[in-house]
Structure formats: structure tokens, C-alpha cells
């Protein structure tokens, strides 16, 4: 059997078999094999094998050319057919493209939103090697507290000890201050004290002034463009003076561009750090901690070396027996926004949850879009049976039929890209701008061209995924059955399509019910009894420097009939959440209770109508400087039979409990009520509360203003109503409601589209049945009923399936976002179900009615 060893290698032959044209495959393979043997006889197997391999290499370009040429020809044909189909079935295809476009538009938003979130702070040139120093403190109960607030001398000490530091700045965000420029007096929230290197470390654009010198002198400042307009109008602000808190005068040396929307660092006025050092004795003090420390290392790889040396640094500057500071570490700038929740009150960070939620929603929507596509394509294929049959007869292979269907679905999904772009720019972007306040130009596609390649890729993927099932089922059909017009086909497909329709309905029910539940939750929140009365209270912004005039001011106001009570506190009720460790009498530090600690003045309880349950409230008739009030939760947590008369210690402050008030919630509403203690604050009072009898009495505001100007001539008069502050604070739910409404709209759109598709399909499929029923005397109404039964069963099933899922998700979602949630209301379900039922009935009515009214002669004439 000599020849057997001399056949070409099998793998090579296999390759060649793939590459050779179908027509002459076998005889050519034979020719090659024969010649191979001849060579191997003459020159040996090695040369023969080489020759055989070369043949494969030679044939490759030709094969590629051939196959592309022919498939190009076929694709042109498919394209033509698709375009003809689109023109013939305008409504079907435009709805399909529109539906996909809606989804893709949502995807565009998601992509832009997440890229901005994940790319936060990335615009700084040195972003990858700027870090903030964070310390870990030991706290009560063996917990750890991360904090970025550090002592002043930390930065100079670090620069001395670490050669890796290229630049460093301290960053002190200070609370609200009063700023005066010439004749303007305004409150300013965004004053920051920074070292001169701030301007060179971060890539904020300097509009006027020299970045290297503008902040080097004490009492110099750089302001944002917005601030320049706010304080100086059109005049040139360089060289002008700003007076902060009527105490420190700084001279403007430069103007800085606004920080971009996606910057963690915000500012209106940057004041040179040396301004503080020239005034404050604390500058060398390692005990007081007031500033953030930001470092720019020489490159991003120095981080490890740096952190290795930190323990040595800590032991050098902190005594070994210090019982709070545990360690220091570096926190990268790029993590500031989404990965800083573990650090105490760190800039304006947030959880990345929103990004993941948007990703998840886009994904689900795309899946549903696929379902829809499958649904409609199968429904549509019934009218294309003949085309498929003819193609098969003239020699289309199954593979070719599949690629025809696939290329068709890819073409349609590609067409949805321009639709998506239009929908996004014209509708979605303005909508999102209205409900969650995204800046339009930042989110515009013009500035986010990276999105295009992604959505085109997604649309192709979607086309393949969605075209898969219909392509396989349609190409599987038996040619003769198709051409005989035997309409038994597609019965297997119906079951799958019903499953798809039900899942679409379930998705849309979930989204729509959630939308309405958010509305309910909003109503619930805004009308909730929070233990205090927020109606008819005017809030005035004040400053801790105004204490001297307070009693006169209060005395003047109380003379007016409409004003019932005047009081003050250090934070604003409705968004006030200060926490501290409270040590009860007779217990040690490790048994401290975390409580909300509110610093208020005597009349606060009266102004907000907190209810005293036990003991007494604060009163002018007692010496109350060292008195505490606690709430019911605290009374329970402290486990005393009678808490009144017991003492508590909060930091340096020690006092006696004089009364228990009913639980109240003056925090943002996603916080639950925790044990709370109220103490008398006499220095740091930032808000005045004025309770009036009648809100409509406009004279009152003018009376207050007059007294204000008399008592505090140097301070801006800024007033608002407590209830408005509250509504604004808790109105964010509008945004979520809006997003879910949009999802509800998209999914609802899909399910309706699906059921309309089903109705077209079943009317076609059952046309003969209807004819026969009519011949036997069925009325139109009777036939309508047979059809509707099918849809209602599907719809009912969806309702039943959706109920527990929706119930579960809504409950979880609400509980995640708010401490106190409304009950899931069955009315909402009933309402949504009824609404959908009406819409479903109407949307299938047209097709079904047409079917029920056909003349049986038309459908049965061929029988």
C-alpha cells in the first residue's frame, strides 16, 4: 500500500477543499493529489508537501476575490429587496426603525452620561498623578473613619520629606461667607483657600493674570469669570478689592475660567493660602485639622514608593501613643467623583450606582427591541413565503437565505442609527435637560463623537441578534409546502412570539407602574408628617457674626401681629444632618451613641412646632446653656427609665437632659430618623426662622426687610419659605419619575407594536377560518370576540406575571432611595392595567374589525 503514504497531508487537503470553487472541487483535488504523488515519487515527499502548500497560498487571493465579488452582487440584490419592502410597507418599517431608534437614543444618552461620570476630573493634564492625602482615624467601637481634612503643616512637612512630590496645595473649602465688592454685598458659598501651585497643578484655564504669581502674595485672590460678572459687572476686576466677612480684604489678581461641569473641584473665589498664615496662629499646629492636601507626584508610578514611606512619616510627626490617627494613604484624583463615599464629606462625590442603572436599563431596552424585531419579522415573513420559495427553487442555499435575512435586519437596524441621532438631539436631550437638568451642549452629540462608532457597532450586533431567529425559521421551510400555499407554517413560531409579547408587556407594566408609584411616593414625601410644621416659616440666611444684633431684631419683629416666633439654628432644617458621638452619663467612650446633634437657639422648638412629650422645651426662664433635649429614639437608645436630669457629653460639651421631644426629621428624606439631641448654640447661627400666621400677607416681608436693614446694614437680605426649600430638596424624585416615564413609554410602545403585529399575523393566518365561520352564520361581533379572547388571555397573563415582579422591584427601589416609603397601592396597578387594556383593545381593533367584516367570498373563492 505504498500510495497511501503518498497522499497529500489531510489537513492541507482539507484547507484546499474549503478554498476551491464548489463546481470543480473534487476533480481538482484529484488532480492535485495525482501531481503530488508524481512530485513525491521524483523529488521526495518534502518537496511535494512544499509544493502542495504553495498551491494553497496561491489560491487564497483568488478565492477571496471570488467570494466577495459574488456576495457583493447578492448584497446589492438584498439591499434592493429591502428598499422595495420598506417602500411597500412604510408603516411597518418606519415603526420598527422608530422603535429601534428610541432605544438607541437612550443608549446614546447612557453612553454620554457614563463616559462623563467615569471620566470625571480626567480633563486635568496631570490627572493620573494628582492625589489627595487621606487619613484613617480610629473611632468609637473600633470603627475606622476616613477623612481628607488634615492639619496645615502636613503639606510643608511632606514636601520636605518626599522628593517624589512635584507640586502640592492645600485646599480649604470654607462655609458661606459674606463678600462685599464696592456696593454689592452677597453671600458666597464657594470660597477656597489654596496654595499658589493650585493653578499650575490643575488645568483650569487662566483668562487674565499670571498663574505663577497671582496667588503667591497674602491677601490676593483669583476669581471665576462668573464671580467677576457677579461682583464687578463689566468692569475690569483686576486690582479691585473684595471684602470677605467684613474682615479680610483681598485684591483680585486674576480671572479663571469656570470649572467644567465634570469637575470635582469648584470655586468662585480662590484666596491665597498665605492670607490665612499671616493671620492665624494655627498654621504650625498639628492638632487643628482644616484643609485638604493635594499632591502632584512626579509620575504615577511614584505612588507605591510614596505610600511605602508614609508610615515613617506618620511616626515622625505623630507621637506613637496617639490614639486616633492610624494611617495615611493617597487617593487618586480620578477616583474623587465615583469612589470616595467611604471618605467623610469628600467634595461632591457620589456612588456609581446611577451609571450601572443606566447601563442595565439600556441593556434591557435593547433586549426588548430584539424581541420586537423577532416578533415583527416572523409576522412579516408570512407575506414573504413566496419570495423565499422562489429563491429556494432557483437555487438559493439555506445559508444564502439566512444571510439574506440577516443582512436585511442589519440594514434596518443601521437605518435606525440616523433615526436615533435625530430622536436624541430633538427629543431625548431636551427631555433629559428638563427633568434632570443635564447641560445641553455638554451632552450634545457634536461634543461626543466617540458615540457614533459605538452605536453603529451596537446596531450591527442588534441586527445580527434580532435577525437570527427569523432567518433560521424562515429558511427552514419546505419549498413545496410554501409554494403550494399551504398555510400551516409558523405555528411553532407563534408560541415563542406569544412568550415574547408577554415579556414585553411585563416590562412595560413594570416601568409604567413604577412611574406612577414614584408619583405616589413624591406626593407622600411632600405631605408627610415629619414631626415639625414647615408651613408659614420664613428662612433668612445669616452669618455667625450677626449675633450681637439678634435680640434687637427679634424684639422688633415680634411686635408685628403676623409674626409669631423668631429663632435661629446653625443648619437649615430640611437638609441638616450633623452627626456626632454622644457619650451618656456613666458610660465610657466605647459605648458612645451616634446621634444627630442640632445646635439651635431657645425658640427653635416653638418656631418649628416640635412637640415636647416629657419634661420641658428650652426656655428663656431657665439657664439653658447646658441643657439638652432628646427625641424619642434617643430616649429608647439610651435605655434610661427616666432620661430627664441625666447628663450627656458631646465632644467638649456636657449638659443635662431637660426634655424629650417627639421624633422629627429635618434631614434629606433618604435618611431615617436616628437618636437626636438638641443643644443651645449661641455662636454659630446661620439661619433665622420666622413663623408667621398668614403667608399671604406680603407686608410682613417688607417689615422684616426694614428691620433687617436697620439691625444688620452690612449684610445681604436673602429670604425663602421653609416649605419651598423642603420641596426643592425633595423634588429630585421628579427626575427619576421622568426617566421611568420614558422607559414606560418605550416599552409600552414596543408591546403595543408587538400585539399589533400579532393581530396582523393571526388575521392573515385565520382568514379562511373567519370566512367559514361567517358562512355558517357567525356575526362580526362573535368573530371579534374570538380574536379578542386571544389578546386578552395574553394581556391577562402578563398582568398576573407582572404583579409580583413589579411589587418586589418597586418596594426595593423605594426602600433603597428613601427611608420612609408609601405603601404599594393596588389602585395604581388597577389604573395601569385598565389604561393598557383600553390601549390594547383600541390598537388591535382596526385589524380585527377589518377581518370580521370581510366578505367570506373574498377569502374562500379559491376553495
Amino acid at each position: 500500500m505504498k500510495w497511501k503514504t503518498e497522499t497529500p497531508p489531510r489537513s492541507a487537503e482539507f484547507l484546499l477543499r474549503i478554498l476551491l470553487p464548489e463546481r470543480e472541487k473534487h476533480d481538482l483535488l484529484g488532480d492535485y493529489a495525482e501531481y503530488y504523488r508524481e512530485i513525491s515519487d521524483r523529488q521526495g515527499r518534502f518537496i511535494a508537501g512544499f509544493w502542495y502548500g504553495m498551491q494553497i497560498v496561491i489560491i487564497i487571493p483568488k478565492t477571496i476575490w471570488n467570494s466577495t465579488k459574488w456576495s457583493l452582487v447578492m448584497i446589492r440584490n438584498y439591499l434592493k429587496i429591502v428598499l422595495r419592502n420598506i417602500i411597500r410597507h412604510k408603516i411597518y418599517y418606519s415603526l420598527n426603525i422608530l422603535g429601534l431608534g428610541l432605544d438607541m437614543a437612550f443608549l446614546i444618552f447612557t453612553l454620554i452620561f457614563t463616559s462623563l461620570q467615569f471620566g470625571f476630573d480626567g480633563f486635568h493634564e496631570n490627572a493620573d498623578h494628582i492625589f489627595s492625602v487621606v487619613k484613617v482615624n480610629r473611632a468609637a467601637n473600633n470603627t475606622q473613619v476616613h477623612s481628607a481634612i488634615l492639619p496645615f503643616p502636613m503639606l510643608p512637612a511632606m514636601i520636605e520629606d518626599f522628593p517624589e512630590i512635584e507640586n502640592g496645595t492645600r485646599y480649604i473649602p470654607v462655609g458661606r461667607k459674606i463678600v462685599r465688592a464696592n456696593d454689592k454685598i452677597l453671600y458666597e458659598d464657594q470660597i477656597r483657600y489654596v496654595d499658589p501651585s493650585f493653578l499650575s497643578m490643575f488645568s483650569f484655564k487662566m483668562i487674565k493674570g499670571n498663574p505663577s504669581t497671582s496667588l503667591s502674595e497674602p491677601f490676593s485672590a483669583v476669581i471665576s469669570r462668573e464671580a467677576a460678572i457677579k461682583y464687578f459687572g463689566n468692569a475690569n476686576p483686576i486690582g479691585k478689592t473684595l471684602s470677605i466677612d467684613n474682615q479680610t480684604d483681598v485684591i483680585v489678581h486674576g480671572i479663571l475660567d469656570e470649572p467644567p461641569e465634570y469637575s470635582s473641584i469648584h470655586y468662585n473665589i480662590l484666596v491665597s493660602f498665605s492670607t490665612i498664615s499671616s493671620q492665624s496662629p494655627e498654621i504650625e499646629n498639628w492638632e487643628t485639622e482644616k484643609c485638604m492636601v493635594m499632591l502632584q507626584l512626579n509620575n504615577k508610578n511614584s505612588r507605591e514608593i510614596f505610600e511605602k514611606k508614609l508610615p515613617v512619616f506618620v511616626s515622625k510627626h505623630y507621637s506613637a501613643d496617639n490614639n486616633y490617627l492610624k494611617q495615611l494613604y493617597l487617593h487618586p484624583l480620578t477616583d474623587f467623583h465615583l469612589n470616595s463615599m467611604h471618605i467623610d464629606s469628600f467634595l461632591n462625590c457620589q456612588l456609581p450606582t446611577a451609571c450601572y442603572i443606566f447601563y442595565a436599563i439600556s441593556f434591557v431596552l435593547l433586549i426588548i427591541a430584539c424581541f420586537n424585531f423577532v416578533n415583527l419579522a416572523t409576522a412579516k415573513s408570512i407575506t414573504r413565503m413566496r419570495e423565499i420559495g422562489i429563491r429556494a427553487v432557483v437555487g438559493a442555499k439555506r445559508q444564502q437565505l439566512i444571510s439574506q435575512f440577516l443582512s436585511e435586519s442589519i440594514i434596518v437596524s443601521l437605518l435606525s442609527v440616523p433615526a436615533a441621532i435625530i430622536i436624541y438631539e430633538m427629543f431625548l436631550l431636551p427631555y433629559f435637560a428638563a427633568i434632570i437638568g443635564v447641560p445641553k451642549d455638554l451632552y450634545s452629540l457634536v461634543n461626543n463623537s466617540f458615540v457614533f462608532s459605538k452605536i453603529i457597532l451596537t446596531s450591527i450586533l442588534l441586527g445580527v441578534l434580532a435577525g437570527f431567529y427569523p432567518a433560521f425559521t424562515s429558511s427552514k421551510l419546505k419549498v413545496c409546502e410554501v409554494l403550494k400555499n399551504n398555510s400551516r407554517h409558523g405555528t411553532g413560531g407563534t408560541r415563542i412570539r406569544k412568550v415574547l409579547i408577554v415579556s414585553q408587556f411585563v416590562a412595560s407594566i413594570i416601568a409604567i407602574v413604577m412611574t406612577f408609584m414614584f408619583r405616589e411616593q413624591r406626593e407622600y414625601l411632600l405631605n408627610m408628617d415629619l414631626g415639625y410644621d414647615r408651613e408659614n416659616v420664613i428662612v433668612l440666611n445669616t452669618s455667625s457674626r450677626m449675633n450681637s444684633g439678634y435680640d434687637i431684631f427679634r424684639g422688633q419683629l415680634l411686635k408685628y401681629e403676623n409674626i409669631v416666633s423668631v429663632s435661629a439654628s446653625s443648619g437649615l432644617a430640611s437638609r441638616w444632618n450633623p452627626e456626632d458621638q454622644v457619650i451618656p452619663e456613666g458610660r465610657d467612650k466605647n459605648e458612645a451613641v451616634t446621634m444627630n446633634t442640632y445646635g439651635v437657639n431657645t425658640d427653635f422648638i416653638e418656631s418649628l412646632k416640635l412637640q415636647v412629650l416629657n419634661g420641658r422645651g428650652f426656655s428663656r426662664n431657665f439657664q439653658d446653656e447646658n441643657s439638652f433635649l432628646i427625641n424619642e429614639k434617643a430616649a429608647t437608645a439610651l435605655e434610661w427609665e427616666d432620661p430627664i436630669g441625666k447628663t450627656l457629653r458631646i465632644g467638649e460639651r456636657e449638659g443635662t437632659i431637660v426634655g424629650v421631644v417627639k421624633d422629627f426629621n429635618i434631614k434629606e428624606l433618604f435618611w431615617d430618623i436616628i437618636p437626636t439631641v438638641l443643644f443651645i448654640e449661641s455662636v454659630n447661627l446661620n439661619y433665622f426662622y420666622i413663623r408667621v400666621l398668614d403667608r399671604e400677607n406680603t407686608a410682613t416681608i417688607n417689615q422684616i426687610r426694614a428691620s433687617w436693614e436697620e439691625c444688620f446694614p452690612d449684610y445681604p437680605f436673602v429670604h425663602s419659605w421653609l416649605v419651598d426649600e423642603f420641596t426643592e430638596q425633595n423634588g429630585a424624585i421628579y427626575g427619576i419619575q421622568g426617566i421611568f416615564a420614558l422607559i414606560g413609554f418605550i416599552t409600552g410602545f414596543y408591546s403595543l407594536f408587538g400585539i399589533i403585529g400579532l393581530s396582523i399575523y393571526s388575521v392573515l393566518r385565520r382568514s379562511k377560518e373567519i370566512g367559514i365561520r361567517k358562512v355558517f352564520g357567525a356575526s362580526s361581533a362573535r368573530i371579534l370576540r374570538t380574536f379578542y379572547t386571544e389578546y386578552f388571555v395574553l394581556f391577562g397573563l402578563s398582568c398576573i406575571i407582572a404583579f409580583p415582579i413589579t411589587h418586589f422591584f418597586t418596594e426595593k427601589f423605594l426602600a433603597l432611595a428613601w427611608a420612609s416609603t408609601t405603601d404599594i397601592k393596588l389602585e395604581v396597578f388597577a389604573f395601569v392595567y385598565l389604561l393598557l387594556l383600553v390601549i390594547v383593545s383600541l390598537s388591535v381593533l382596526f385589524q380585527t374589525l377589518k377581518a370580521a367584516n370581510t366578505n367570506p367570498v373574498d377569502t374562500l373563492k379559491y376553495e
Partner: protein, 106 residues
């Protein structure tokens, strides 16, 4: 009439000469012997395809042999129009060569 290239002409003449045994490998061997040039299989196959497309050749599958891995040979045969064009070519070539006496260069 479509002009033939020289190689196409050679291939057709080889097929004529080989009669029933005219398949790819045989054609290649025949031409290599006479012309003294070792042609590749592809160099023969391309004109075969073209001539068949033009209708001068027809092909059918012949018997299989063990050496071919049990695969059939594709046997080529000259069609009627192929024969016509060969006759035509012979006339033209003879007319062109008529005045060339031939020299003995030895």
C-alpha cells in the same frame, strides 16, 4: 471570432492530441514535454476555464483512480465551435507562416 492566446491554443491542441485522456495533469505533462517548460497546474487550469466558458471546450467526469485519492478526473473535449476555431486558426497560422522558408541553422 474571439482571438485565442498562445497558451490557449496550445492547450486546445494538447486536448486534441490526448483524445479521451485529456485531463488536467495529462495536459500539463504533454505540454511540458513538448515545450520543455514546467508549467504549474494553475497555469493550465486558467485557460481551461476560460475556453470552457467561451464554449470551445466541454468537460465531463471520468473514472477515478487510487492515486487521485479516489476522485474522478475531469476530462476535457473540444466542442464543435472549438473545432471550427481551431481550423480557422490553422488557416491563419499557415497563411502567416507561408512565406517563411525555414532555415537549417545547424
Amino acid at each position: 471570432m474571439k482571438l485565442l492566446s498562445q497558451r490557449e491554443e496550445h492547450v486546445m491542441l494538447a486536448i486534441w492530441a490526448l483524445k479521451e485522456g485529456a485531463y488536467l495533469v495529462a495536459i500539463k505533462k504533454y505540454l511540458s514535454n513538448i515545450l520543455g517548460k514546467n508549467w504549474t497546474l494553475a497555469a493550465i487550469h486558467t485557460p481551461l476555464r476560460r475556453l470552457e466558458d467561451l464554449g470551445y471546450l466541454e468537460s465531463f467526469l471520468g473514472e477515478a483512480t487510487a492515486v487521485r485519492g479516489g476522485r474522478a478526473k475531469r476530462i476535457y473535449r473540444i466542442t464543435k465551435s472549438g473545432l471550427e476555431i481551431l481550423t480557422e486558426y490553422k488557416k491563419i497560422t499557415e497563411a502567416l507562416w507561408a512565406n517563411f522558408p525555414g532555415f537549417s541553422l545547424g
